[in-house]
Symmetry: C2
Amino acid sequence: MEIRERILQAATRLMAEKGYDGTSLAAVATSVGIKKPSLLYHFDSKPRLRKAVLEQLLSRWNDVLPRLLMASAQTGLNKFDAVMQELLSFFADDPDRARLLLREMLDRPGEIEQALRAFGRPWVEVVSEYIRKGQESGQILKSVDPEAYILHVSSLALATVSSVHGTQGLLDNGGELSPLERALGEVARIARTSLFDAGYLAHRQKELGDLD
Amino acid sequence: MEIRERILQAATRLMAEKGYDGTSLAAVATSVGIKKPSLLYHFDSKPRLRKAVLEQLLSRWNDVLPRLLMASAQTGLNKFDAVMQELLSFFADDPDRARLLLREMLDRPGEIEQALRAFGRPWVEVVSEYIRKGQESGQILKSVDPEAYILHVSSLALATVSSVHGTQGLLDNGGELSPLERALGEVARIARTSLFDAGYLAHRQKELGDLD
DNA sequence: CCTACCGATCGGTAGG
DNA sequence: CCTACCGATCGGTAGG
């Protein structure tokens, strides 16, 4: 693997775990087996390293988009479940993504807003268009505010994946599912129930028994 | 106001905004008009200052508990709305609470879990008992996992209040509500809809028209 | 409550 | 890719 990628990978992990201010360039360098001045040859300042880490993370989101467009071929509840699955998997596949984005939202709300707007806008527009159509046909609750709904489901997914390690002790965890599986299942349920008309949901209930 | 309280207040604000590692003792001291060694007389190390900040924040939660017990006199949906109102107000009244707790969950998942267990356990048990009773009487959906549900609604409230500043630009904001009001209204709606049986909700719908 | 000071660590540079 | 080094800032102490 290229040294540049290895630096980015180590920086992502450390910044997700300790935060930007809690991560020294020396610590990143050591964890890939080089010294700090060598790292500064590849990324010529700490802010630029942060920027590169964030850009790589967000660019991965673009890999998800093609699968989302495929999901667009489906309709109603199936389409919704496919889209939710992609959103949750994106963070569950690598919890560092959730923790790093959450930290950036806290550290630099202005800058991260711009980045999320650029990378998230197309997705938000597709999904809210879908919600509006569902509201017209009666499948989706009229009381849902599309943009706010998407934002909150995303926030919930972010916070859930980030905090499962820290708060799983509050749960009894007596069941057979892992804490993360249990948490994501509940997130999916909350998202589905608060979006669709209950009559429509009950009508389609058999199709998603394994998701409850 | 006592100097000790003024230090705690300044430390809370700075640590919520910049994080623990991003907040120097000198910065806290300066913002209350003293020098660093004077601050270290009142809190004899930085970790102890952090601990005091967190304890004061959590102790405020105890102020909420009496009102929650009063709300217990009510039943069904009214009780739920009262409890949600207290939870959302706790964070909305001072967004630093949400941001600081979220940062602590990211920085020290183990320690914060202990603290939340001590301060949140009684509340979690009361609410989950309420949910279980509602499930028996059919008002609350059988598919709800009580502990997981509470944890996720709390996470959603935390993340929502913390991130409203950073992400409000993703919303059109064409309405008459402030971004925070709009966000909290959607959180309350998501929480209510994903908890109660739809038939029960429809039956009681008139009573909460102003919450939609 | 202060000034003066400590060793350690920070991001970054010089130079090879 | 390295060693050696820079000024600035960190948390904390001595002493009054």
